[in-house]
Symmetry: C2
Subunit: 382 residues, 2 copies
């Protein structure tokens, strides 16, 4: 199912290949987020042209709208959205804890009110796995509790306990044919909790392991620390997924820390605010300095936006609220982050990852604004 | 410049070919509207795939944003928006009278306050032609006065007088290399005024003639009447353009009344409200009856949306406000209306237009809602 092809001698970076019911995913991989069955502003063709090999769907959102009845009638999630490559579904745990305002945590899940119409609903390991089975995703995630990064120690401990108990329940549920299930580790930045949780989840035995409790508003050093605390306890021959991350530079650094899979709303979210991702850092295309810049968003980029349009034109479109503006930035940003991942894989294969990493980080200027957007995105969730 | 290839024996319909500085346009033609330098929600590729041969730009809007300095620095409108086929620019007359709230009509144009920042501006025949020259459109329109359909007789008369005087002034202005200029006839549904205006404009001598004063809130019979009143006075060997029209069935009927060129925001505007155009009439894709309809928007349509997605999926996207929903409907509607025009040309060439017209009208159920949307679109302009 997962083949570890190569390990970087100078870091923990790994080159791998994950086989799913809908095809093969080369890792390290970035998974564009299609929360409600659509990667925001992009169509199938643009996703394919960007080199997308797997996308995300969201249990919480898809269960509310359009609902399982419609998706089942449509032949499952792949057919409903007409995406024939792999899909990973998030378990909905994150959304229950971040979106549903009124909730009551019970032994076997969470009672909450829909953020849409206030109706009373219940989501737990059993329900989440059942929804994911019906959606027919290639990779299902266990239902976890994801506390905010500044939750008190006691809350972190309870979250870890519930996460382990719920993972065990998820383990027992029926799956869709060929469906893989990944376990999620919590524990914040507490070394003992991270170790305990990671060990317990690995002990249960899943097809892959995710590091959760990141992208929950924490500063970058804490995020890196959380990953570093969990990673040593995850088996080398299985895929590791850091949830909800991150900026291009963070992905390079997280690959170096042994992570294989990523998802983030950042590329399409900041696109809609007029911000482009480049290898030198984030750039506001809306900004005045692009008024008469007739070059592309990023020199050397071969995405549709960079091949066809200038910064000056895109700035104009963004300024007058033309949908094409945010579309083109969504195309570029998705293309850019997927190309960085492709470059990472090429360099891992060639044995030149250390050099690539050094150069990438040297040229990349982290943007405070984007870092904050990432944190805000986490708060607003997908 | 304009070649009249064939005339339908059973109606006034004409098959023609218009040659411009940026290429040939087969008529009858529908021109998608790119008011601010972008056909709403569509990219270049989608426009080309739909069979677009010419698009519109708008003098009033483009002059305000991004402004002529930027467009000039970008090499003119074609290069700025990267559209290498023909562009027709509206003169801005319609917008000055519909958008700019505070205005003072003067002998040589209109003093008005920008609808964006309230700054005092002046637009008249001289200014409009100068802007269109700088934009470098293939077809420039004269600066006219376009009164509402229910304007009193006196106002209609004044509008006709000013429209003729301003057309004469436009006639004298310098043009971009190879730029054609079309004169606009006003006159509402007053036969004498329509005749007087059409004759006077034709007497001045332009490369083509537009019927203005339609799509200004009038009911369909008045719109048809306005066209019928003006058409007999327009020379057969030059193109005729009915401004701001219309629904698919209206286009078929207007072609039969001797019109060669059309533009309308309807296809993309109703798309953004979740309404699809079909040969049976408009269909609300957002409506509940599409909840579990796993067929395409329209059977037999080969647009990207119909080839890849079901009504049920598109309804879901529209319901949850995913941009892909309005994108796909914009693709379909533009494709649909351009295909109707292509069919019209095919049938004119084959001598079977009368039959096509009869069948098209027999199957098409006009939608009150869409008719009202067309009127509302005219009121909101763009």
């Amino acid at each position: 199912m997962f083949e570890l092809l190569k390990t970087d001698p100078a870091s923990k970076a790994r080159l791998g290949r994950l086989t799913t019911a809908h095809g093969v995913v080369d890792t390290p991989v970035f998974m564009p987020v299609g929360t409600q069955g659509s990667v925001k502003a992009l169509d199938l063709r643009e996703l394919n042209e960007a080199g997308t090999s797997i996308i995300l769907g969201n249990t919480y959102h898809l269960n509310l709208r359009p609902g399982l009845e419609i998706i089942t009638a449509g032949g499952g999630l792949h057919r409903f959205i007409n995406w024939d490559k792999p899909i990973l579904t998030d378990s909905g745990g994150f959304q229950v804890f971040s979106l549903a305002k009124i909730r009551k945590v019970k032994p076997h899940g969470v009672e909450f009110r829909s953020h849409l119409d206030g109706s009373l609903l219940f989501l737990g390991p059993k329900e989440s796995m059942e929804i994911q089975r019906i959606l027919g995703s290639d990779i299902a995630m266990t239902f976890d509790e994801c506390p905010p990064h500044d939750a008190p120690a006691k809350e972190q401990r309870h979250a870890v306990e519930r996460t382990i108990r719920w993972a065990r329940e998820c383990r027992e549920q029926p799956r869709a044919p060929g469906q893989l299930v990944f376990g999620i580790c919590q524990g914040g930045v507490n070394p003992a909790l991270r170790e305990e949780c990671a060990k317990a989840i690995v002990e249960l035995g899943f097809d892959g392991y995710a590091i959760g409790g990141v992208s929950v508003g924490e500063p970058e050093p804490e995020m890196m620390k959380a990953v570093e605390l969990a990673e040593p306890f995850l088996p080398a021959n299985q895929p590791r997924y850091a949830m909800g991350l991150g900026t291009p530079a963070q992905l390079v650094e997280l690959v170096a820390r042994g992570v294989d899979m990523f998802d983030c709303v950042l590329p399409t979210r900041i696109a809609r605010n007029g911000t482009a991702m480049t290898r030198k850092g984030a750039v506001s295309i809306k900004a005045g300095f692009n008024k008469a810049d007739f070059g592309p968003i990023e020199e050397g980029c071969d995405c549709f936006a960079c091949r066809h349009h200038t910064r000056a034109y895109l700035r104009h479109l963004l300024n007058v609220n033309e949908i094409l503006g945010l579309r083109m930035l969504s195309v570029h940003n998705s293309h850019m982050i997927l190309k960085v991942m492709a470059d990472i894989r090429t360099h891992l294969a060639a044995g030149t990852f250390a050099e690539f990493r050094r150069e990438f980080i040297a040229h990349y200027v982290p943007s405070k604004k984007v870092m904050l957007a990432r944190v805000a995105a986490a708060a607003a969730n997908s």
